[in-house]
């Protein structure tokens, strides 16, 4: 069996202090259980994480680079969507 036969898995790690799982890379494995082992061996060797998710790459639906403009450009000039156009009272310190 060669790597070409093994499907690709994407690896997400939650760091000790981090709140969210963050994508760290990908690997090949025969199934999800092996992917978890490989992820442990490849991506947590330097004490990076306390939790691992693996997801088969084929199960991820991603936005296409071709759709970049219609997807994301329209929000680029709408600064008024940020809640920055009002004064913060002095009695509210931590914003």
């Amino acid at each position: 069996m060669t790597s070409a036969d093994w499907p690709l898995y994407e690896v997400f790690l939650r760091g000790k202090r981090g709140l969210n799982h963050v994508h760290v890379g990908s690997l090949h494995a025969a199934d999800a259980e092996m992917a978890l082992h490989h992820a442990r061996d490849l991506y947590t060797r330097r004490n990076e994480g306390v939790s691992i998710w693996v997801v088969a790459a084929k199960d991820i639906t991603a936005s296409s680079p071709d759709e970049k403009d219609p997807f994301f450009a329209p929000s680029g000039d709408k600064v008024y969507r940020h809640p920055t156009f009002y004064d913060i009272p002095d009695s509210v310190p931590h914003i």
């Binding site: 069996m1 790597s3 092996m34 082992h37 061996d41 004490n47």
Partner: protein
């Protein structure tokens, strides 16, 4: 960010560590705060001899695993085997260092690893057993890590505080090694005829090293009585049980292996290829006497 030492950058105390989540923080030293004095009524030479046995088991098994680097079937397995070899090397370093302090000679881990003759090594011969292929490797690793896990799990309550601390940290590593090996043995045993045949072919070689694992030397007997060591004969049932469970998953039969005149490696009697293994281990250190790394 300026640091006096690279280790400061990865310490838990660093207030800027939050932002660098991708690098691990909070490393701990398994021997931090551990009392290094010998327990009352225990001979330091015995403790040293025992630590050399357990340290050599780890050192030699690690060296065998390292020989597989670049020869494994997948890149991911390369890293897995390298990690396991590195775990065992870490255990060996702590145990050999303890040996040098316990017997009062002050010998360093390097003195033990690089400046002894093959006949002075005290590892069990299973640790030095060379296998032919990946199937043999995972079967060998299953047997070795099952036995070492059973042993170190009991050593966590050793009266020697250093041995107990080393064991407490090693148990977590060995639990993973055993799981890694077991899942590969089951995978291969359940897959193709060829993969299964490779396991079947390797089984007698691995089984041949088992009787020695449960033989008790004089040093072990004395230290077991003193609550420092584990009498290896106590491990037999657990190791047989685990191996039976894993091999039972794939319907593989164990053979009855009669012991000979054990112990072998604990007495310094090693197999034919052992000299070459030690020569490879010591080559760089012998070419550059006094070098530090």
């Amino acid at each position: 960010m300026g640091f006096d030492s690279a280790y400061e950058a990865i310490s838990e105390d660093d207030p800027t560590a939050d932002a660098r989540w991708a690098f691990g923080t909070g490393f701990d030293d398994p021997l931090a705060g551990v009392d290094t004095s010998l327990p009352d009524g225990v001979d330091g030479a015995d403790v040293a001899a025992y630590c050399v046995m357990l340290g050599d088991d780890a050192l030699i098994a690690s060296q065998r695993l390292q020989q597989w680097i670049t020869r494994l079937p997948e890149l991911e397995e390369e890293t897995a085997i390298a990690n396991i070899a590195l775990d065992l090397l870490g255990q060996a370093r702590l145990l050999l260092t303890r040996a040098g302090t316990a017997d009062g000679t002050g010998r360093s881990e390097d003195d033990f690893a690089y400046r002894r003759e093959p006949g002075e090594f005290r590892n069990v011969t299973l640790a030095e057993t060379g296998v032919e292929d990946f199937g043999g490797l995972v079967l060998w690793l299953l047997a070795f890590s099952t036995w070492r896990l059973a042993l170190t799990a009991r050593l966590r309550t050793s009266r020697d505080p250093v041995v107990a601390a080393i064991a407490a940290s090693a148990v977590k590593e060995l639990t993973y090694h055993r799981e890694y090996a077991a899942q590969w043995v089951v995978r291969l045993g359940d897959s193709t005829e060829y993969a299964r045949a490779r396991l079947v072919a390797a089984l007698p070689l691995v089984e041949g090293g088992l009787p020695e694992l449960f033989a008790t030397t004089e040093v072990e007997r004395r230290l077991a009585d003193a609550g420092v060591a584990v009498d290896p004969s106590e491990l037999h049932a657990e190791v047989d049980g685990v191996l039976g469970t894993v091999l039972g998953e794939i319907g593989m039969q164990r053979h009855d292996v009669a012991g000979g005149d054990e112990p072998l490696g604990r007495d310094g009697a090693h197999s034919a290829g052992f000299g070459a293994l030690i020569a490879e281990l010591q080559e760089v250190a012998r070419q550059h006497p006094g070098a530090t790394w």
